[in-house]
Symmetry: C2
Subunit: 140 residues, 2 copies
Amino acid sequence: MTQTSDMVAELKERGFRLTPQRMMIVSAIESSDHHISADEIYSQITESYPVVNISTVYRTLELLKRLNLVTETDLGEGRVRYHPFAKGHHHHLVCQTCGSMTDLDESLLTSLENSLLKEYSFRADLRHLAILGRCRKCAD
Amino acid sequence: MTQTSDMVAELKERGFRLTPQRMMIVSAIESSDHHISADEIYSQITESYPVVNISTVYRTLELLKRLNLVTETDLGEGRVRYHPFAKGHHHHLVCQTCGSMTDLDESLLTSLENSLLKEYSFRADLRHLAILGRCRKCAD
DNA sequence: ATAGTTATTGCAACTCATTGCAATAACAGC
DNA sequence: GCTGTTATTGCAATGAGTTGCAATAACTAT
């Protein structure tokens, strides 16, 4: 049996065309064990099959983002990283001095989300947030 | 009497050189009544005195940021905006549908900062944060 | 005022990301 | 299977921001 990717299934169901480029991009994101960057997706694909343009990578990421299939996180590196939404969403504490990253449970932000909703009627999009600062070791 | 800019005074005191370029960049930031972008600073200066390079603008902003004289905010526009730290720091709720911006009192995030410090010994840098999401009008 | 030290600038090249437009190729209907 | 429609891609140009390096010019000490 062929295990079809969740994302590919979702794309098909929503009426988007299943191009080879999209399949490969989705596959790269799903098979990555970490938060992957656009450039990493691009080089991984072009290694084996050099017919994908970098702008297609970005456009596909944009689409997957819009469909809530991937989340985008700015870890303060000067580029942005992507992660399948289905693989779980958490937050990151990123130390700007030593670069260490700690995962942060989602629940820590739910109370903030609730106050924003209650007091401002604002639905904050805080999935996969990176909070920059200083870790214990690097504190002044 | 000549009112000297706080930022210029601080730069001098810390031993940084007071070049005409820096003075003009600082002046543009201080006299702006809103959050100003690098490009706006650049065009404002070159209108009257065309001898400033855009990379100098970015390097000066980097310096002012490091000295905590300005804060940088990503309002989700595809470019970043700057604001004098001394003029007060607040947060923003930015609606990704209609683009409206609501100022948010600083205090709403202090409880989050406190939990991060307590539970993770992490000193979060949450000055001038922009929280993206959906405002009341644009809610589904 | 002048000269020396070195922080700062300008320039040009580069990275990451976005966009308009013409060419291509998925998919639907026959 | 073939054909038409139009979503999607590739290309090339553009925007925002960064960086290495040589030239310049603040500031310090004389």
